[in-house]
């Protein structure tokens, strides 16, 4: 391992610009003659638009143009699409209600877009928006997910009768029922997976410019996947030919899934730029982000686990209602099905699993992938029910897990829910986690806490994740509308420095460093001579972007393929330069050598020769040193791990404090441990946030978003968490060239169950059976009160 190669804790190349205020986010871009967009949004969850009058608003100072849904309809603009077709039980494709770019005659959630004002300044645009008269006929709203599918609940779309998008299943119900009939013990669980708002610290933004001379559009967007955004805008929404639309995602301030999707604001900004003839800029206010960024999670689930007399899992049955919100966002349909139910085996040998998922539309913001996307929901179900089962069986929670882990020898392991786990070794992970967490010492700590009046609890969560969605063929069979490969290009300049062009996108994950490490390690080029280029459709090859912890496993592997091509070509050139046979040329640490001799030629010299081919095998080899690769993986990658959380609860106030949190993960080989640790830390805190703090709360009657600002949406703060204890076990991924798995979502996937299991453990002595997430002080206090009332009766 070199100081900057694979496995090294290399400091990030991108940090300097972020630390000196010279990063460039969309809102930072200077655009000459820019206009500013402001979107008028519905204050109602459900209403018919009887009339929109923009006359007075159009006459306001500084107004350039005002557009409404009618303008987009007149222009025959396509609607926003859902890119994953899920087939229901009967083989029918999911119901696909229209998703107009701006509301036509009905608004369906608080924040639904009613009009776009373009003006010379943001303030003027806002002034004008206030002068738009909208006549609404307010209608009853469907907000409560648990009742969304009930008869008589207000309907969101005529295309989705009864608000049902699909009724989907996996597994054979009769087989599972038969197993339950024979079970010695059945544990039952009802739970809610609370709705979250992603809250990347940079609000979404878009800016667009139209060049009348060439007919080219440029859209700067806070996107995690600029090529996919361009594809959707070109093929489905705007009809601008792909080659006439350039999408640039510059520095992007976090995404967590919420910036994967194609939103109406960027669509409108792009479309309107050609109509107003000036650049248009839009940056969301945080209030808009709360209302309109795709939210995450939001399930209501009933689960049952059947066990034999020894605690061996026999079967698992899960019924879930998943909230889609008012419209189907880009990948929303896949999240509670293929990314959720296929993970319900967890780390266990449960032989039979049946899951039924009903997706419902409601008068709330669209819901789509958010850090983990389906997998946190699955892990929460499994790991909560396993801990509950252990408590019911009076068995050690780790012991029950261990008893049911898929054994090392069983890999590759075919689960009953479609996935085939490629690799893993779970027992050493939980052992290591228990060691780091000092599980043995827990009861002493609990007793000590009791003396201080605190209830201490411990909770486990052993998660499995399937990330790096793949292969394209399988995803296609499952209804996914895009390929799942990644592209890479290694472009040497004549002077020997390198541009690594990737189709994935970094918005905090550190690609500029990790990918440079790969290339530096593989080609022996000093890391400072390597520049990673991403995020601009005009300078990068088509790529799929960054989501689902795929960048390294898929994008990094593509880079490896491209470096292989460079080495292969370089060998031919080197062979010529050294007057040797290609078969005898070896490449090591930046130098081509003739095996068994001391003849060598450095890569830089080979590159120079390729660009200045004065002495060059032009008959056999093209000049230049620039190689492209596409990599389509053979399978998902399957990181796994165990987290152990310890909490202390103040029974007087209901406040839960996370006092210790351990995570041991198997991410396969690790390229930059520093960056991986950072991903785990951030993920854990988002998971702790879900477990204890965060909730998107809509008024159940009116559909008003009550947690619509940081005054009411409870973001985790530094004081809410301790420093974390991390550990690793490595089983390399067998099917990608780096042996890597994904690490971006793991923390957020495992943490909620670990925290909630600890909360339940702490509260068990008080007779509390179940606390719903988030375990806020109010919620915990009410649960304690409820248990005390029940005990008194």
């Amino acid at each position: 391992m070199t100081e900057t190669g694979i496995g090294a804790r290399v400091h990030r190349k991108e940090d300097k610009r972020f630390l000196t205020g010279t990063g460039r986010y969309v809102d930072d871009l200077p655009l000459a003659r820019a206009t500013y967009a402001y979107f008028l949004r519905s204050p109602h969850a459900h209403a018919k638009i009887k009339k929109i009058d923009t006359t007075a608003a159009k006459a306001m100072p500084g107004v350039v143009e005002i557009f409404t849904g009618k303008d987009t309809a007149d222009a025959k603009m396509g609607g926003l699409i859902c890119g994953w077709v899920v087939k229901d039980k009967n083989g029918e494709p999911h119901k696909a209600p229209a998703h107009p770019v701006m509301a036509l005659d009905t608004v369906r959630y608080v924040g639904d877009t009613v009009a776009m004002v373009v003006a010379n300044s943001v303030d003027e645009a806002k002034d004008a928006a206030e002068a738009i008269k909208v006549d609404y006929e307010v209608k009853p709203a469907n907000v409560d997910l648990a009742r969304a599918l009930d008869k008589g609940t207000p309907e969101v779309h005529p295309e989705a009768p009864g608000n049902l998008i699909y009724d989907w299943e996996i597994g054979v119900k009769a087989d599972v029922d038969a197993a339950f009939a024979k079970a010695a013990h059945v544990t039952k669980l009802d739970l809610v997976n609370n709705r979250l708002i992603p809250n990347a610290m940079e609000p979404r933004a878009a800016a667009a410019e139209y060049d009348k001379g060439t007919g080219n559009y440029t859209l700067w967007s806070t996107s995690q996947n600029p090529h996919v955004l361009r594809l959707i805008l070109s093929a489905f929404v705007l009809g601008i030919p792909e080659h006439k639309l350039r999408v640039v995602a510059p520095d992007v301030g976090g995404g967590f899934g919420s910036k994967i999707f194609c939103y109406n604001e960027e669509t409108m900004v792009c479309w309107a730029a050609s109509r107003v003839g000036r650049p248009i800029k839009w940056t969301a206010e945080r209030a808009e982000s709360f209302m309109t960024d795709a939210h995450g999670r939001d399930h209501v689930t009933h689960a049952e686990l059947a066990m034999d007399k020894d605690g061996k899992f026999l079967a698992l049955k899960v019924e879930t209602i998943a909230n889609m919100g008012a419209y189907l966002s880009t990948f929303s349909t896949a999240v509670p099905t293929y990314l959720y139910a296929t993970l319900l085996a967890g780390q266990y040998t449960t032989p039979l699993i049946y899951a039924n998922v009903k997706a419902a539309v409601t008068h709330t913001a669209p819901v789509d992938a958010y850090r983990g996307a389906g997998r946190p929901e699955a892990t929460f179900v499994i790991e909560t029910i396993v801990s509950k089962a252990a408590a019911e069986l009076k068995m050690d929670t780790a012991e029950l897990r261990r008893k049911n882990f898929i054994p090392k020898e069983a890999f590759p392991y075919q689960t009953p829910v479609a996935l085939q786990y490629d690799s893993g070794n779970y027992p050493p992970i939980i052992d290591e986690a228990m060691k780091i967490a000092d599980y043995k010492g827990f009861e002493a700590r609990r007793a000590e806490a009791k003396k201080r009046g605190k209830l201490r609890g411990i909770g486990f969560s052993s998660y499995i994740e399937a990330c790096g969605l793949a292969p394209s063929q399988v995803i296609g069979q499952l209804g996914g509308g895009v390929g799942q490969w990644e592209s890479a290009q290694i472009k040497f300049n004549p002077t020997g420095n390198v541009q690594v062009i990737t189709g994935s996108h970094s918005h905090g994950q550190g690609h500029e460093t990790t990918f440079a490490q790969l290339v530096s390690d593989k080609l022996g080029v000093p890391i400072e001579n390597i520049e990673v280029v991403h995020g601009d459709t005009s300078t990068t090859t088509f790529g799929m972007g960054t989501y689902g912890s795929r960048s390294l496993a898929v994008g990094g592997s593509a880079i490896m393929k491209a470096t292989d091509k460079i080495i292969a070509k370089g060998k031919k050139v080197a062979a010529h330069l050294m007057e040797a046979d290609v078969a005898d040329v070896e490449f090591d640490n930046g130098t081509f050598k003739v095996a068994g001799t001391d003849k060598n030629v450095p890569l830089a010299q080979v590159v120079f020769a390729a660009y200045v081919p004065h002495n060059y095998p032009l008959a056999e080899v093209e000049p230049g040193m620039d190689e492209n690769a596409f990599y389509d993986p053979a399978n998902f990658v399957y990181p796994a791990g165990t987290q152990i959380c310890e909490v202390e609860i103040d029974p007087d106030t209901g406040v839960v404090e996370v006092v210790a949190h351990t995570a041991v993960d198997d991410f396969g080989n690790i390229i930059n441990p520093m960056i991986v640790e950072g991903q785990v830390h951030g993920g854990i805190v988002q998971g702790v946030g879900q477990a204890l703090h965060e909730a998107a709360v809509y008024d159940k009657d009116t559909g008003q978003l009550l947690s619509g600002s940081y005054m009411d949406y409870r973001m985790p703060r530094a004081e809410d968490v301790p420093s974390f204890k991390l550990g690793y076990k490595v089983t390399p991924c067998p099917h990608n060239p780096l042996g890597v798995k994904g690490c971006g979502e793991a923390g957020a996937i495992a943490a909620p169950a670990a925290v909630m299991n600890a909360v339940h453990d702490a509260l068990a002595p008080l007779g509390v059976k179940h606390v719903e997430m988030p375990a806020t002080p109010l919620n915990v206090w009410q649960s304690i009160q409820g248990a005390q009332r029940a005990a008194a009766e």
């Binding site: 940081y710 005054m711 009411d712 409870r714 002080p777």
Partner: protein, 265 residues
């Protein structure tokens, strides 16, 4: 934000003059509530009169056995003032619990008291310590000053100049933060003085209020045990997604007991 006419008077008299006769003029002290409100376009003042240029309004003075804090004194300055820490340490501790460091560097005691936000911290201290609110028009006793949700006894154009806090024998403030906003969901200030005990609660009701039953019990026996069975009725208490009225009522008891224990330390 809507635009407005901006004034930065140098004297109190000029400030009063700038506000006079203008129904939609607003005085701004630290601006920690006003500016966010204006950013949301939830108010459209014709004039904003920035009190930041009036030198006479800032500063902390020890007067008699108590302290007088100028209206424009920042929370941070109160929190670190040796005079406040020596005279009424609980008041310095309260100031250190407001908002966050950057907010404490701008927010002022005068603004907090004049605003009477139901979840502000200072009103609890003002009432529990039986402070005097000094204005350009005279003086107000603490009792009766806070009249309701964002309502005080201040008349139009009346500006707080300082708040005078007598030194208590013992005092402490316990705050249960709203988990999201960090405002007080329930804050209880307990003060034992030679005239008796006062217990003031903020965050729980439309404005700060006293709990007579606790005061009576604590006047006889200043220990948390003395109030352990006193329940505050939840009727008329605030309720939102973070806390029901019942929960707030319960927290008043918990925070009051903890405040008494802290005061006795």
């Amino acid at each position: 934000m809507y635009d407005f006419a901006y004034h930065r008077p140098k004297t109190l008299a000029d400030a009063a003059a700038a506000l006079k006769g203008k129904d939609e003029a607003r005085a701004m002290s630290g601006g920690m509530t006003l500016i966010p409100t204006l950013k949301q376009r939830l108010a459209k003042p014709s004039d904003v009169v920035d009190l930041g240029g009036i030198k006479e309004l800032a500063g902390i003075k020890v007067e008699g056995s108590g302290v007088t804090i100028g209206a424009m004194t920042k929370h941070y300055d109160v929190s670190v003032s040796p005079d406040v820490k020596k005279t009424i340490p609980a008041l310095a501790e309260l100031a250190a619990m407001i908002g966050d460091p950057a907010v404490r560097n701008r927010g002022t005691i005068g603004g907090s008291v004049a605003n009477s936000d139901p979840a502000a911290d200072y009103p609890a201290a003002v009432v529990a310590l039986n402070a005097t609110i000094n204005t350009n028009a005279g003086k107000h006793a603490a009792d009766g000053f806070f009249k309701g949700l964002f309502e005080t006894a201040l008349k139009d154009g009346e500006l707080i100049t300082s708040v005078s806090f007598p030194k208590p024998e013992k005092a402490a403030y316990m705050k249960f933060r709203n988990p999201a906003s960090r405002y007080a969901m329930v804050g209880v200030f307990v003060a034992k003085t030679k005239d008796g005990v006062r217990v003031a609660v903020t965050g729980a009701g439309p404005c700060v209020f006293r709990v007579k039953a606790m005061e009576d019990a604590l006047s006889k026996n200043f220990s948390s045990a003395a109030i352990k069975d006193i329940k505050v009725p939840s009727k008329d208490l605030n309720s939102d997604i973070h806390g029901s009225a019942e929960y707030r009522a319960h927290l008043v008891g918990v925070m009051a007991r903890r405040a008494v224990d802290a005061a006795n330390k």
